[in-house]
Symmetry: C2
Subunit: 241 residues, 2 copies
Amino acid sequence: MSKRGRAGEPPLYAQIRDVLLDRVRTGALAPGQLLPNEFELAAELGVSQGTVRRALDTLTRERIVVRRQGSGTFVAVPDPDEWLFRYFNIYDAAGRQVTPDSIDTLASTGLANKRECERLGLGLNARVVRVTRRRTHDGVPFIAETLVLPADLFAGLAERAEIPNTVYDLMQRDYGVLVGRGDERVTAVAAGSLEADLLSLSPGTPLIRIDRVVYAIDGRAVEWRVSLCHLTEKHYRVRLT
Amino acid sequence: MSKRGRAGEPPLYAQIRDVLLDRVRTGALAPGQLLPNEFELAAELGVSQGTVRRALDTLTRERIVVRRQGSGTFVAVPDPDEWLFRYFNIYDAAGRQVTPDSIDTLASTGLANKRECERLGLGLNARVVRVTRRRTHDGVPFIAETLVLPADLFAGLAERAEIPNTVYDLMQRDYGVLVGRGDERVTAVAAGSLEADLLSLSPGTPLIRIDRVVYAIDGRAVEWRVSLCHLTEKHYRVRLT
DNA sequence: GAGTGGTCTAGACCACCCT
DNA sequence: GGGTGGTCTAGACCACTCT
């Protein structure tokens, strides 16, 4: 890392961000841990306090760290509820975010098929963990979904006694995979006989099909999920900015 | 505006942001206009250059201004293509954003009904402009939509010879309404006989229903739109962050 | 070369949290 | 009261754009 931004090199504050992010990724800084204050970090890294601040501001926006005035800067702790809601954008008629439960969860491991390799960016002969489940609201099933995850990243996942309601904080807590962003493709489909059965519908009922790929902060795809949702008095919410 | 952040007062950079935003809103700074440089603004407003920079950084993120190193800071010019794509999140199978055209556009003015008043936050006896149209891709109609706008904000809109393909840059160019954000509710519905006719489908075909309210930067609702979309080989894309 | 925004530094004071 | 992040200032140098 050089002091002056020589040709093509990223600015100092971005380099500092990367250094700190690496410490979180490798576990040198663990979730919940208090970071040194700005002046200590600045001295250690050989930059000014303002540059450290700028790096920490970036990490705050990326939800990697949490800053509390008067207390300090902490590595963010993945919170199950927060993660459940962050990617679960279904709201009821009154505008309240819906809290789903999971039932009939089944997990297995197998060889990835062509489509799975494609969506997850895996090589040939890669193994995947597949999870199927139904999600309910007030006891009524309204989503049937399948999750596909690279088995080498999540060893032993299929053998766990229980798959939690949200897998994203599990990824971060137990497997050290930092979730960064996701990409969804939404379409409308007619319920087939399978979905009709799972969700107690007439075949042909219109459903929302959400095809989601989630990427780790380093860009690797870590989950492909397809959710078929029957939305009555509920909707999928998108904020346009 | 006070120099020191006294109890409860927003920070200086936020106050400066508001001052500059007001100049854009009132037209004192017109779209495309070059702003004074950071030092001139700082001198004029009685703050330091760093504080002005921070305000301008905020306005840049909000897409109110555009900064070009070596050239200066300009008030953003609403660009039809940019605005069309910004809120039109439909992509084809190859991942390319779809460019829609409009046909059969009809506009009229009338008294707002209860639902319209509700969604647009209008008082009783308010008038609205209603626009219906179909949108096509490669000449094939795939969306039927209705737009509802407060008539007092958009005087003469219904009488225009042509309603453009995207109304959002029109709002900003011709009516001085700065578009800030939108909120969409997505559900799946079965095509009724009307939609089936408009989009050449069999009744009962699953459609995506997008119910959108768009708000100006000052928080007023400026459009309520319902789009019924038939997505074959296309999808509605959502980025999760 | 003149002018602009982008980066980086150094230092001050304030508001807030904890003990 | 001592330590932390949040704000604000002043000034330097760099990279980029235009003429």
